[in-house]
């Protein structure tokens, strides 16, 4: 049973990783030490306009080839090994580098350009995995308990306006460094509690759309599905949620005619992207943190509002550790997304109210 937590400061104020580290380590019982990770938005202000590729080299010999490839396809503004401490009980951490990249010339669909190159590296058989590729987004993850991973990467020294974190209890797939959550592509990151039994179907469909699953973990499909539905097809969150967590047929039967048509159409058009299996996910992108659970709530999700911040977590207590007196605490209904947006105060629980809000301006 995994654990997850997310915090967004909707005023855009950046805060250190200390809070989220406290929150996720309070839920260490939910993981078993075979994976933990953090995502942070706004942590690379000096390279804010660059795609921050985080690359895990399970085979250090792959690095020269990957770097040649990156230099061919991007301007490499800066490259360095991801700084880390030595943590004695972390077994065999792989070599991890980060590259701050810009496209070499003006590209009409820059995001697609980046995605295709990420997929090419990940499927090249070099043992190298680009596990994060967003602008001004950091992902720090590996095999260990959250406290160990936080210590290893110095997570509390980073600052961002949106943080997510995860502690893993793998049930189906190996606990390896690349299998820890969050999973990232462009500025999407996903942390997940549950098990995606529709993985095979989702994966085959996504492969047709150019996304290749290489991280040996079911959660990977959610990151790619989010990118596909919400970026490539520009679906708003409420609609994407109806694909990922589709309303049940008896609910559809009770909808108004127009709503029914939409629900049926989504099921027909995006059938292979319906997610089956218990899940609670926190999907994040710049400016937005989305909490979503499966339709029949087979995994927990608690939401809370505290001043400018929206909190999402597997349990209430870790939220209270950070914010002892939230204004509001609730458990969102399955299938109904809870969204915290920058410069946008929350209103109704579980329902998006604002359609237009300014994206985080760097």
């Amino acid at each position: 049973m995994c654990g997850l937590i997310g915090i967004i400061d909707t005023s855009g104020a950046r805060f250190s990783g200390r809070d989220i580290v406290a929150g996720i380590t309070a839920m260490e019982e939910r993981g078993n030490g075979l994976g933990a990770g953090f995502a942070v938005y706004g942590c690379y202000p000096q390279y804010a306009d660059c795609y921050a590729f985080h690359v895990m080299y399970t085979n250090p010999d792959g690095r020269p080839q990957v770097e040649v490839f990156l230099r061919e396809h991007f301007l490499v503004v800066h490259a360095e090994e991801v700084p880390h401490r030595t943590v004695s009980d972390l077994p065999n951490p792989p070599l991890i580098w980060r590259y701050f990249l810009q496209p070499p010339f003006t590209i009409p669909d820059e995001a697609q350009y980046v995605v295709e190159r990420v997929m090419r590296v990940n499927t090249a058989g070099l043992g190298a995995y680009i596990y994060a590729s967003g602008k001004n987004v950091g992902v720090f993850k590996g095999v260990g308990h959250p406290g160990q991973i936080a210590e290893y990467f110095g997570v509390e020294e980073y600052s961002g306006y949106l943080w997510t974190a995860h502690t893993r209890f793998p049930t189906n797939t190996p606990g390896w460094w690349g299998g820890a959550h969050p999973f990232g592509l462009l500025d999407w990151t996903v942390v997940h509690n549950g098990e995606i039994s529709s993985y095979g179907t989702n994966r085959r469909y996504l492969e047709m759309m150019g996304y290749h699953c290489t991280m040996q973990t079911d959660t990977e499909v959610i990151a790619y599905a989010a990118d596909f539905l919400m970026r490539r097809h520009s679906l708003p969150v409420e609609i994407a949620a109806q694909v990922l967590a589709a309303p049940l047929w008896n609910e559809i039967a009770r909808m108004e005619a127009a709503e029914q048509r939409l629900a049926r159409t989504l099921r027909q058009v995006y059938g292979p992207l319906l997610i089956n299996g218990p899940f609670t996910v926190i999907i994040a992108r710049h400016g937005e943190m989305i909490g979503l659970g499966d339709r029949i709530r087979l995994r927990p999700l608690t939401a809370a509002v505290c001043g400018d911040r929206l909190y999402l977590a597997s349990e209430e207590a870790p939220i209270r550790l950070i914010c002892p007196q939230p204004e509001r605490v609730w458990t969102p209904l399955g299938g109904e997304p809870v969204v915290g947006r920058l410069k946008t105060p929350l209103q109704d629980e579980g329902i998006l109210v604002w359609v237009e809000s300014p994206m985080y301006a760097v």
């Binding site: 309070a26 839920m27 019982e29 008896n250 009770r254 029949i296 709530r297 927990p300 608690t302 349990e315 209430e316 207590a317 870790p318 209270r320 550790l321 605490v329 609730w330 458990t331 209904l333 399955g334």
Partner: protein, 250 residues
């Protein structure tokens, strides 16, 4: 106040195993009242305890509060999380706040009172046997799958958190129900019920039971029982004692 009578434990930073060991030790040493302060997410508090001790929890207890508990009275000054009263056999849990999912999961006896709302699957597979008849009273409203696979016992949902004109939104109420009874203050539409559930009129025994349970709820949370009893209740019962008897029959 002597050590035997009242014990205070500051739970700050204490992992749940150690906290529960200290709690058990205090109970074994004859404490009559134990206050736990700064509780934040520690699980299984009260688990397996069977002496008639009163435990006050200040803070947010973690999952499975009072799991397998058999006798004590736990009062939570705050919200409870998931699985409170899991397989509880006796005693009482009184929550001055809301509670999460699967409250009273497989409960066998005793009582749980929640002042505010609850999550999914409250009372899932709650059961009764002879004098053992567990009770769950929810002051607010419940989310979906209330009373899933219910086999016995009593669930009461008062809807006090609903605005005027607002309805309970729970669906799949009593899915798989084959024993026990659910009382909901307010209306429930047919589409909100699981297939195994029917709606029947209340009789005198129901009214007496509700007066008693609402009275207890009102006493715990300082409410006016008459105002609560002033609105009609819906009574839900299983249509069959073996709803899946023919599931594999050809």
């Amino acid at each position: 106040m002597g050590v035997r009578e009242r014990v205070e434990i500051d739970a700050t930073g204490i992992p749940y195993r150690e906290l529960n060991a200290r709690l058990r030790e205090a109970v074994e040493n004859g404490a009559e009242r134990i206050d736990l302060y700064n509780v934040c997410g520690q699980r299984y508090i009260g688990s397996g305890l069977h002496k008639p001790v009163e435990i006050h929890i200040h803070g947010t207890p973690g999952n499975d509060l009072a799991a397998f508990m058999d006798g004590p009275r736990i009062i939570v000054h705050g919200n409870a999380q998931d699985g409170c009263g899991n397989t509880m056999n006796g005693g009482e849990v009184i929550i001055h706040g809301r509670a999460g999912d699967a409250i009273g999961y497989a409960m066998r006896g005793g009582k749980v009172f929640v002042r505010d709302d609850v999550g999914y699957r409250v009372g899932i597979h709650i059961k009764e046997y002879q004098e053992q008849r567990p009770i769950i009273v929810i002051g607010g409203t419940a989310q979906h799958f209330l009373g899933e696979y219910m086999a016995g016992g009593v669930l009461v949902v008062l809807g006090l958190s609903l605005a005027p004109g607002e309805r309970h939104i729970a669906t799949y109420i009593g899915t798989g129900m084959h024993g026990g009874v659910i009382y909901v203050r307010g209306e429930i539409a047919p589409h909100q019920l699981g297939r195994e559930v029917g709606c029947v009129p209340l009789d005198e025994r129901d009214e007496t039971l509700l007066r008693q349970l609402v009275g207890e709820y009102a006493a715990h949370f300082d409410r006016d029982p008459a105002a609560i009893l002033d609105r009609p209740f819906t009574k839900l019962v299983p249509l069959s004692s073996r709803p899946y008897g023919r599931l594999y029959a050809y």
